[in-house]
């Protein structure tokens, strides 16, 4: 059965809150009902039917034909067993608090993608904005499970306060990559600007390119890590570049010793 299709009629003129459009929330609803859902965020009322032309299909899989940087909260609170595909860009809070399922974005994603996510897989074929997997202001932890794969570049503070899960970035990262990470694993195949792993507590940051990590990361030598080989095998399907980085002998820098110091930065030796 074909997925339930949302074809974009025209570019939205205001930010849209698409958190209501997830497979579990649309199950059992008629197209007319779905078209009447309000998704606007200003005084001007915008309904699904104003922005999208719908074609009926299996609501367990949603397909957005066309995207926009105004598409906020796509796949928010998504549950296991469902999937969403966006042929275009998305805005703020992609997969916000998602608990499972699979989200694929063919374009770019805005800030706070995968924020608060606790399970599932997110593929971003383009770039991602600032605070990838990071928490919103006032929240203690960022992403707490699942897997995020970004084929392009990411903005500043990627992996901020990451609690658990695996993040793969095939492109470059902005400033403060892996800042305040609590735990989890981030693999960066490109280069990172500025500080790396600032106040990292227990996370593993795997970088394809070695550089100076500052005085609070201490060199622990080059080793063959069985866990890295396990990850290489498990992640090979999602990113062969990440798997290649992990398969090598890795130099371990323990830190950030300015805080807990049980984290690490690993780079090919």
């Amino acid at each position: 059965m074909k997925p339930l299709l949302f074809a974009l009629r025209h570019a939205p003129t205001q930010r849209l809150d698409l958190s209501a459009l997830t497979p579990d929330r649309l199950a059992g609803r008629a197209l007319k009902e779905i078209e009447a859902i309000e998704i606007g965020t200003t005084k001007v009322v915008v309904k699904v039917g104003d922005v999208f032309k719908l074609r009926s299909g299996d609501p367990r899989a949603l397909h957005f034909e066309g995207g926009s940087e105004n598409f906020d909260f796509v796949g928010a609170k998504l549950l296991p067993g469902f999937s969403i595909r966006v042929e275009g860009d998305v805005g703020f809070g992609l997969a916000r608090n998602a608990k499972g399922g699979e989200i694929t974005v063919a374009g770019d994603a805005g800030a706070h993608a995968a924020s608060g996510m606790s399970g599932g897989t997110v593929y971003i074929e383009g770039d991602a904005g600032d605070f990838l997997c990071g928490p919103l202001a006032g929240e203690i932890a960022g992403m707490s499970g699942g897997r995020v794969v970004v084929r392009g570049n990411v903005g500043a503070r990627a992996g901020d306060r990451l609690r658990r899960g695996v993040v793969i970035i095939e492109g470059d990262a902005g400033a403060d990559f892996g800042a305040r990470a609590i735990a989890g694993t981030i693999i960066l195949n490109g280069k990172a600007e500025g500080r790396i792993g600032y106040l990292n507590k227990r996370a593993s940051l795997v970088l394809a390119h070695a550089r100076d990590f500052g005085p609070t990361y201490v060199d622990c030598g080059a080793h063959n890590f069985a866990f890295a080989k396990l990850y290489a095998r498990a992640l090979a399907q999602d990113s062969r570049r990440a798997a290649r980085t992990l398969s090598q002998k890795l130099q371990r820098f323990a830190g950030d010793t300015a805080v807990y110091g049980k984290g690490e930065i690993l780079t090919p030796a």
């Binding site: 735990a183 080793h223 890590f225 069985a226 866990f227 396990l230 990850y231 498990a234 049980k262």
Partner: protein
């Protein structure tokens, strides 16, 4: 005993009687095959029978780097015990003393199982707070720092509650050499059956037992009916042409696996024939009242 014949090998119209056991398995990997095999051999040592050991354990199969979770050479071992608790205790001790200590090894769960037992979780404290937890695809692993790098161990391993222990074949031949040839061929064939092990030395046991003894307090003693040197003085089960009896004991993760293993063993013995191998195949039972699993040899013939 009424007998059937296949290619000149006499097969008793008897059955093997087996018992329910709890079973678990580990995949042990190492940087090379030598150390994976060493780890597996030591880990499955002194684990022939639950009568005197904490579990019955053995190597199920070798795994190529393509088949292991971390892409290194590996070995799959299985361990069986009377209860899930007993298996857990045995595995925690064995992983702690034999695998944590063995250079280069990493340990993963081999079975999904009905329930999980904490094996890696018991190892983590050896790390003295330097251990690192890693969660991947719903599983947790511990990285415990050791002197050759890190010991990677999965936090929990699967356990199957309804396993079968004690499937068996009695291989009878004219002398030790020919009987051993047939038994070795059977053990090799059983080795090809997945999810089954033969826990005795080289898969073979020569001291088959009967229930009870003339001595007080001994629950089992030598099976005199199958001892060739007592053929004249006891109520022997042996024919005049039988000079040696060897037994293969099989533990498997399911009823079907044990039946498949026995079938493979019988096929190999029959294929060798009575001239170079065994003249007769039997099976051990206790009258059918003790164990719920009965494997009739006539149903397993090639």
């Amino acid at each position: 005993m009424p007998q059937l014949t296949r290619k000149g090998v006499r097969i008793d119209d008897s059955f093997a009687e087996a018992f329910p056991m709890a079973g678990s398995g580990l995949v042990i990997t190492a940087p090379n095959r030598k150390w994976a095999l060493t780890a597996a051999q030591v880990m499955t040592g002194y684990a022939t029978s639950v009568i005197g050991c904490d579990c019955e354990a053995g190597v199920d199969c070798e795994l190529s780097p393509k088949e292991t979770p971390d892409g290194r050479p590996g070995v799959r071992v299985l361990a069986f015990g009377f209860s899930p608790k007993a298996v857990e205790k045995a595995l925690v001790n064995r992983v702690g003393q034999c695998l944590l200590t063995c250079p280069g090894t990493a340990v993963f769960s081999a079975l999904e199982g009905d329930l999980k037992i904490k094996v890696g979780d018991a190892m983590r404290q050896f790390g003295d707070r330097w251990q690192i937890s890693k969660a991947l695809d719903g599983k947790r692993y511990w990285r415990v720092p050791v002197m050759d790098g890190e010991f990677l161990v999965e936090s929990q391993v699967g356990l199957v509650k309804k396993c079968v222990g004690g499937g068996n074949l009695l291989v009878m031949g004219e002398d030790w050499e020919s009987t051993m040839r047939a038994t070795e061929a059977a053990v090799e064939a059983i080795g090809e059956v997945a999810d089954a092990i033969t826990p005795f030395p080289g898969g073979i046991v020569r001291s088959g037992s009967k229930v009870g003894s003339k001595y007080k307090g001994m629950s089992a003693s030598t099976n005199d009916a199958y001892c060739p040197t007592l053929r004249g003085v006891t109520n022997s089960a042996l024919d005049p042409d039988i000079g040696c009896v060897l037994e293969i004991v099989i533990d498997g993760v399911s009823d079907a696996v044990v039946a498949d293993a026995m079938r493979a063993g019988i096929k190999a013995i029959v294929a060798l024939g009575p001239k170079d191998g065994a003249k007769r195949i039997g099976a051990g039972n206790y009258g059918g009242k003790l164990g719920p699993f009965h494997y009739h040899l006539k149903d397993l013939l090639p």
